[in-house]
Each structure stands twice: as C-alpha cells, then as structure tokens.
Subunit: 149 residues, 10 copies
C-alpha cells in the first residue's frame, strides 16, 4: 500500500543508485529535458500515463507506483525552510542577497507583476572557462502582470 | 552619525523615488551592469572610492554616507527567511521545488562541489514572446569542487 | 525623507481615521473596486499616476508620498507567519483545514498547475440570511498549467 | 490497531489512487458536495455512521477504520505553517497580501466580528474564459459579531 | 498623527499608571464588565462612540485617539507565540496540557464544532478558600456546529 | 517493549474507538471527574495503581502498559506551539486576545503572583440557551503570590 | 510619558552604570536579598511603595517611574527563546542536558507535581576552591503536587 | 543493529518501568550520585566500561548496547527549544525571568566569564517545611574567566 | 532497498561501535586525513570507488551501500538550526560571538569576499599545556573575492 | 542617557568609518591582539579601565560610553540564528557540515568534554598560495572534561 508520492520518489532514488543510472539518460528515454525529468522523478512534477510507464520500466516500479506518478504531487523538495546543503544553500543565498535587486529590475522593465514559476523552464549547462568551468543556468518564466479590477 | 549601511540604503532608495531615477541609468553612470549596480545600491555590494563618489553625486549623499558605501556590508536583503513578496517568493519556490533537481544535475555534470554565489554574475532580460513576454535570467557561477585532503 | 511604502501606508491609515473616510467611498473616487483600492491603499498594489494623485487629494499626501504610491511595493500585509487577529486567522484556518481539499479538486478539474494569485480578483459582499447574514466572497484566479519542457 | 485518523486518511488516499477513483464520484455516492466530501476523506470532517459505511465500501476499509471516520478528527491538513506546495501557497499568499484588506472591508460592512470558518461552505468551479479558463471559488461564512458584556 | 491602535493603548496604559486608576472603576464608568472593558482598553475590542468618549475623559485622550478607539483593532495582545510571562504562560500551559481533553469532552457532549471565542464572555473572581484563595474563571462560549453541505 | 507513555496513550485511544467507549463512562469507573480522567487517559496525568488497573481492564492493556500509567508522564498534548485544530485554536486565541486582560485583572485583585495550573481543576458543561447552547467552562486555580526574600 | 516597565528598567540600568553602583549595595538599601533586588530592578518583580521610593532615590527616577515600579510587570528578561549570551546559555544548557534528569528525580522523591518558580528563592555565592573558585547557586522552590479531582 | 544512543536510552527507560527500579538504587549500584547516574542513563553522560557493564546487568542490555553506553552521546534531552512539560518548563522560566539577574550577580562577583556547565555538579534534595516541603537544588559550577589575548 | 545516504551513515556508525574502531585508523586505511574521512563516513563527503570499497570492507557494507557512498550526499550533520550538544554548541557560540569580528578582519585583510567552505581543510590536534591541554584547530579556506560585472 | 552596550558599539562603528580607522591599528593602541580587540569593540568583550580610556580617545567617546565599555556585555553579535551574510554563513556551514566530525575527533582524542569557547583564542592570517591566497584561522580552546560526581 503506497500512500504518498514520497514513497515512490524513494523507490526511484534507490533504483537509480542500485542500477547506476544517469538522469540525462532517463530524460532521453522519457523524452523531456533533463531538468523537467529529474524534477518529475524527484516527486515535483506529474507524469503522463506513457511517461509514467516508461519510468516504471526504467526503475522497475509496481503498477501502483506507476499510478502514483500520474497523480499531482504535494510539491517542495527541501527538508527545511533554509536548506543546509551547501549547493542548494548557494541558491537560497542568491535569492537572499539579490532578492530585492531581482524585484527592482523586473519591475523597472515590466511594471508590477511576477516572473512565473509555473510557466517556467530551466536549462543547466557547463560553460567552459580557462579560469575554471562555470555552471550556466538559464531561467525563463512568463511575466504575469498584476490585474487591476 | 551613520552607524550602518542600512541607513545609507534607505537614503539611496528615498532619493531614487524623489528624483525619479532608473536603475539602468544609475548603472550606466557607475559603469557596471544594472544587476551589480542595483545590488550595490541596495546594500549588498562594496563600492570602490570612485564608484561611491559617483553614487554620492547621483543620490546627493553626504561624505559620511559615501565612506559607508566603501565598507563591506552585512549582506542579506530580505526581511524573513521565507519572503512574503510574491515576486521574490517565486524565486524561493523555484529553489524549493527544483532544489534537489539542481543539485542532482550539477553533481551529475561536475561531481561534488558547488556553483559559486561569489564568483557569480546575473543577467536579467526581456524575452519577447507572442504568448506573452518572458523574463529571461542567465546565472553564471564558477564551479568549485570539494577538496579532498 | 520617505524611505519605504510602509510610511505612506501609515499616513493613509492615519488620515482615514482622522477624516472619517470609508474605503468604498475612496474606491469610488479612485475608480476601481473596493477590494483592489483597499489593498492598494494598504500598501499591496501599485497606483497609476492619476490614481496616486487622486489618493493624494483624498488623504492629503505630499508629492513625495504620491511618488511612492507609484512604486511597486514589497508585498505582504501581515505581521506574523500565522496571523493572530481572529478575522484574518479564520482565513488562515480555511487554508489549513481545506488546503489539501482545494488542491485535490482543482487538480481533478484542471490537472497540474495553480490558481493564479496575480491574475486574480476578489469580491466581498453581504449575503442576507434569516439565520444571520453571511459574508460571501468570490475569488477568481486564472488557472495556470505547469509547463512541460 | 489504528490509533489516529491520519492512518485512515492514508488508507483512503492509497485506495483512491489504486482504484482510480475521482472525488466528485465519491461525493455523489456519499451524498454531499465534492468540497465537504473531499475534506472529510482527507481527515478534516466527521462522517455520520451511514456516510462512513458508504466510504468504507468505496475505499475497502475495515470496520475499525469506519469507526474512526465517525470520530471528530484533529484538524489541520498542512505539513508546515507556511505551505511549500505552489497551489496551496497561492492561497496563503492571498491571505498574506489581502489579509488586512479583507479585514477592513468586512469590518466596514459588518462591524467588529469574524466570518465563520465553521458555519462555512466552499464551492470550486471552472469559469470558462477565452483568455484561459479560471478557477472560481465562492466562500460563504456566517458573520459572527463580537459580543459586548 | 496616530497610525495604529497600539499607540492609543500605550497612551491609556500610561495614563492609568500616572493617574492611579483601577480597571474595575474604569469599567463601571464605561458601563461594561471589567473583563470586556480591560480587553477593550488594552486594544482588543471596539468602543462605541459614547464608550470612546467616556474613555477619552477618563484617560485624557485627544479626539484623534478617541476616533481610533472606535476602529476595529488588529487583535492579539501577546509579544510571542509562547508567552514568557508566568501568569499568562500558565494559561498557555493549560491549553497545552488539557487541549486534547477539552477537545474530546466538548465533542463528546456536542459533536463536531467549536466553542466560540467571539460569542464569548469571561468572568474572573476571587474564590475564598481556607487553604489559600483561588482564582475562579468562568468562560462561556456558544457552541458552533460544523456545517455539512 | 514500551518505551514511552505516548505508546500507551495510542493503545487507549485505539481501544476507545474500537470498543465505542465514552470518556464520561470511563471516568465513572475510574472514580474521578471526566476532565481529570480524560487528561489522564490522554497521557497528561499519573494514575494510582488501582486507577491504572481499572483503566487496564477498561481498555484491555498489558501489565507493562498498566505500569506505565503509574509513571509521571512528559506532559504537553499538542503537536505544535500554535495548535491548528480549530477547537483548540479558539482557546489559544482566547489566551492571545485576553492574555493581558487576564493578567491585569488577576493582579488588580490579588497582587503579583499567578493562578496555579497545578492546584487546578476544570469543569466543562452544557449551558442550555434558546439562542443556541453554550459551552460553559469553570476553571479554578489557587492563587500563588510571588515571594519576596 | 512612560508606557512600559521596560523604559524604567532602561533608566535604572543607565543610572547604575553612570553612577557606578553595585547591585549588592542597592539590595542593602532596599532591604532585600541581592537576587530579588536585582531581578526587581531588571523589571521582573514588583516593588512596594517604600521600596520603589528608595529605588527612586538611588537611581534618580521621576515620580512616574516610581509609580511604574509598583505595577506588576510583564516578565521575561531574555531577548530570544534560546539565549545567545554564553553565561545565560550555560543555564539553558543545564536545563536542556539535565531537564529529564531533574524531572525524574523530583518525581521519584515527591510524585507528580512541580517545583514552584513563584514560591521560590535563589542564592548565588562564591565557593572558594584551590582548583579555581566556583559559583554555588542554591535554588529552593515549594513542591506543588498535581491535584486529582 | 543499534545506530544511536537514543535507542539504548529507550531500552533503559523501558526496562526501568518493567522492572520497577528506582534511580537512587541504580545510582548506588553504579557508584555515582543519583543526579549523574540518572543523566547518564537518560543518554547525557558517558559510562566507563565497568559502569556500563553494571548498567547492562541492571537493565538487561545486550553487549552492543553496553558498548554504546561508553560512546560520548549527542547531548540534549528535550524535545523542543521551549519545553512543554510543566516541571521542566518552570526551570526554563527561572532562566527566562532570572537570566539577566544571574548574569549581573555572577559578573559583579567574578567579572567577565561563565559558570561552567561541564565542570559542574547538581544535588537535588527534599527540604522539610511546615508550610509544605520544598525542593532544594544546589548547583556548583567552576567559574571560567574570559581570556584576554 | 537503501533510499538515502543517512541509512548508510547509520550502518557505519553502528558498525564502528560494534567493532570498536577508531576514526584515525579508518582514515589511515582510506588514505585521507582523519578530518575528511570522518566527515565522509558521517555522510558529508563523496567517496571515490576505491575509497568506498575500502570503507565497505572496514564496516562490512553491502554493495548497494558501497554504491551510495559514491553518490554526492545532501549535506548538513546537525539535527537543529542551533545545536543542543554542548561541544558542537561551543562552535556555534564562537560563530555567534566572533561572527562580526571574523567578518571585519577578513575584509580588512582581503576586501569583499568570503573564506571558502568548499576549498577548505581542517586539522584538529592536541596542544599540550601545563595548565590543561588544549584543542588546536587550524582552518584553511581559499579566499574568494566578490566579482564585479 | 546610554542604556545598552549596543549603543556604544554603534558609536564605535560609526566613528571607525568616519575616521577611516583600521582594526589592526586600534588593536596596537589598545595593546591586545586584533581578534580580541575587534570583538571587544563590537560589543563582545569587557575592557579594563585603561583599555576603555584608550578606546575612548581613539573613537571620541563620552565618559558614559567609556564606563559602558567596562561593563560585561550581553554577548551575541548576529542578527539571526542562521546568519544571512555569506562570509559568516560559511562558518555556520562549517559547523553544520563538520559538526559531528569535530565532535567525534575531539572525543576520540580527549574523551567526553568540550573545547572551551571562553578560555579560547583565535588568530586569523593570510596564507599566501599560488593558486589564490587562503584565510588561515587557528583556534585554540582549553579542553574541559565532563566531571563525574
């Protein structure tokens, strides 16, 4: 009896390590970007039936687990409000240090509203650099203006 | 008597509204990107003497305030651990929903380490789109591998 | 020297009590709904120049305060993560008790995504009822589907 | 041995996914609105004996579980004071951004008191819209005036 | 310029000490119970015009302060979620130790619902006792049943 | 192996639902008030040997569980500092809204000290009322004056 | 206008440093132990009229401040739930490390109940020791048994 | 497989209740004070091999559990930063109300430094008193002066 | 099925106690410093395949556990934001008391930037001292200057 | 009227920027290490009379401020439990990631006890390195063994 998506996420994570899989290979088989696919496998996105069945094959999941992959999950992947993991913390720090800057510049360009985190995509790539390679991340979110009524 | 950078930030913010300035114009006069300049004006970065003097002219600051701009500030621009402002919250949400995804993919590509938030730059731009313009943000941070010893 | 929208909100709240104004009358003069207008006066929305000037007349604000009304504010009107005021707490309680219900039913009808809090409107009305009048609130938010990529 | 309603909720949630049920169908068989029924199934409301027996049939529950459905539960469906799930967070954000507005307007219309979260109903519907369908939610709560004594 | 009820509460508290007043005398002049009157003076209840004017006379308040007494306040009288003051903490402890007991017994007698904190009164009295006098508090709140719909 | 009173509480709660018992009947058999008995069964009070044995009969507990009922428990029955359950929250709200009032009036009558939560009793009753029955709660706690030394 | 005991505490603390006073001398003039006197001066205890007048002389306080010393204060002397000051933290640590030990041993000796923090005294002394002097603290609190009813 | 001291603490607590042991008897057999012994059994102190073996006999522990008793534990015996149990809370309250007093008086006598919580002992005793017996606790901690360098 | 590094850490910790191993011996066999090795065994660092296999031998781990040692872990070894264990707390206290000092002196020497916690090493040693041996810790982190752009 | 050491710290910080002073120069004039001196100037340590007078000269302080420098301060230099400033956060991260490692290794070498944060010194230096200079920090704290009694 599976009673939450978290249990399926643990099955996937466990199978990934045991089978020595890579997220980019999983993504290729699922047919989506590595960013969306990883988020989905980690319990943040909803699979279509066919994507779920493919994931079921890749990770050796039961039918019940495959059914759970098609249910919209309760999202949120971090254990604490302020993450302790150094890699994830650096992102929290960027939001903390640059938060008001991001707010000012988006409002200066677009007016009042937000950058959507739903109609949103992310692309993470290696940027070769002689002084040490860099992580380059491109975020793209639709601007949604506040409505007046 | 000024006893913290926050007081200078408040002077700058106040002068910006009163004088109707734009961050992109301020950046041009300071000679840095609009992202760095805004963060610096909002109390997150350290000005050189010449940058501080230019800022002093732009915002009409006292000599004491100009001296404070050259002092490394206590960083952190948000009022709460979880920001209430919807625009900034969306960024926190991205870190929350995609945090483990970002971690997995950077580690898959680079191994153990972090994406620096110090040797880091950000570029925010409008991306025209017939279905509604998008906010495009490019983040670039040096990858720093964990050291074994 | 005004350095935050909060100061302007305090001026407005103070003038409203001193002058004995009603939000519905303010809204009529501003030309928007009473819900949007009240939120705007309480520091959560951005005024156009003409709306700001009207508000300046109504509340007797300085030019600097009127300028601040046109700046996108840092939003969030509550003092604590869990509000102590009984009226506002009941709303928090509704989110707490019905949160997973709302999530299930919107997903059942629309699939994965959210109800926007930006492309959003609210209408608060008295509903006459012989057993005691009721507060009727209609919320309308655009459904935004999660994007696959 | 079942020692909390949470265990029954997990059984129901698990059976719902395994059997591919919809909340609206469950509601029809229970004979209540989909909003009340979903909240009840998710552990927030108390079933009558006959409702509980129907739910027992639908989800294949033991007699002990059916008995638990008739016990008033410890309410509260969220994991954290500030929810991380984006759909539920938007509701928290509405309370945060509009909280003081809601307070002002209800008091302006009704005087001091609250909108009941107990003598309360909710109706969630799809609102067709050429610019993208909307989620329309109608909340109705009895106004309860503060008593003077 | 007064911009919150808290400022008026501070004026009242200050005047009460300076003038050596007692709450029970204030209540008699206001014409309400000492419990309601004290809560109102401490910023938790809303005065009628005539009550506010009497309070203005008692405490020597300005017209603006008297106007604020007639505005519904943002309620909540404690500085922290868990009070540090020993007398108030004992009440918090009673809720903590007896909370589930109170819940069980009210539900056993009345079914699902709550004891209202709005249609509510409180009476605090000295109970003479040879082993040491006791504080006797009678709370009376209307039972509000959860509505099914 | 039982290693905490919580486990015994769960056994009692589970047996109560499975056997369809009422707290008032349990109290009668134990020979104490329904308030003390319920608190004791929910893990907040210490049973005498004979009370524990009676409880063991009523709920079908093992000898080890009966031994645990005679051990002074770690008290505190709520899951969070601020309770989410609406019935219990109303009590927290009463402490929050009336906390300073209670403090003022007890001090006005008794001087500095507290109302004991240890030498304390509670009585919960139905109060018939044509406008809707009320929950009447009488709290009685010994006044303990602060000692000077 | 003084509106809280905290303001009087700040006056006392300020005068103590400016006048170079010692708490033990203050206590001698007030005629109470140095522990009670210091707690009282730091805003935790209530002065009698004559003690307050003596304190007024010692610290040069206004009549209004002297009146405030006779009002029961809102108690709690720390800035945070977990104190940051190393000396005070050590006490918090003792409660944290030895908390369950203290609970077990008092219950083993006295049964269920508490050690009063109201009918309580404290004595802090230097204990000469060749390996380094020690701080010896004697706490004495009345045992209050839990009442059965 | 035992992976934390907490598991051994639970075994000890469970055996103590099942076997009807008293801490003072355990202490006598271990050959240390009842305060140190109880703290050690509750997972806060480190046993020597011989003490651990004695404890193993008393509580019927496995060799692996006896090995764990000799490992320095992660200390801290409370479930929350602010304890909910009334007996332990009173100690927290003493630290909260008297914290600054303790700080002032130790500094007045000894200068800057702390009272050690490591080179520390505690003695808990019954103090007979015709008005009700008292709990007398003697704390003794070495004074450690802050070092200048 | 292993679904997190924490499970492997618990296996290692359990085996270490059961087998009576020392970290310094483990480090010698792994071929790294005792500091890095202990951190890695406690779930904070990533092993190479050969290091993981050696660790597998030392602690008797399964192949699946050995595979997990080579996965970058979610870092953070403490249970709470403010650690309760006295030894670890002292380090938190050092950061709290000396935090701004460290910040000032590093900035005075190096300008704006940070001391890396990634390109970082630590060396813990006994420093013999006639007045009592000391713990000497040498921390070395690369200085990373903030980038201007 | 100065009522807390924080006010003096603000005066010092303000004067330091206005006069363009360096901590190392201040330390030389005070005659202590730059680490102790900076901590003392930032309100964490207690000055002797002669050190305070020198500091008074350096920063242009009043006699009252100089008196405050000789009073033991309430220590703790950070604004939040988890610091937001990136430089200080890295130290918090070191404690978080390496906390259990530090604990294990000190206990392995010394047994149960702590590294003192009171009998403690710190030395911060630049370590030249061709791959980028490093910050080298040497911490030295007396080992204090837990006492058995």
């Amino acid at each position: 009896m599976i009673s939450s998506r978290d249990e399926v996420t643990r099955m996937i994570v466990s199978a990934k390590v045991a089978r020595g899989l890579k997220w980019s290979d999983v993504a290729e088989r699922i047919g989506q970007s590595k960013e969306w696919t990883t988020a989905a496998c980690l319990g943040q996105m909803t699979f279509t039936r066919s994507q779920a069945e493919t994931a079921g094959d890749i990770f050796g999941l039961s039918d019940e687990a495959v059914a759970w992959l098609q249910i919209v999950p309760y999202k949120g992947s971090l254990r604490e409000a302020v993450p302790t993991d150094p890699l994830i913390y650096r992102w929290y720090e960027i939001v903390n240090v640059y938060g008001t800057t991001i707010k000012e510049l988006i409002h200066e360009e677009f007016g009042d509203g937000i950058m959507s985190a739903i109609d949103f995509s992310m692309d993470i790539q290696r940027e070769a650099d002689p002084k040490g390679d860099r992580v380059k991340v491109v975020l793209s979110g639709k601007f949604l203006p506040y409505k007046t009524y």
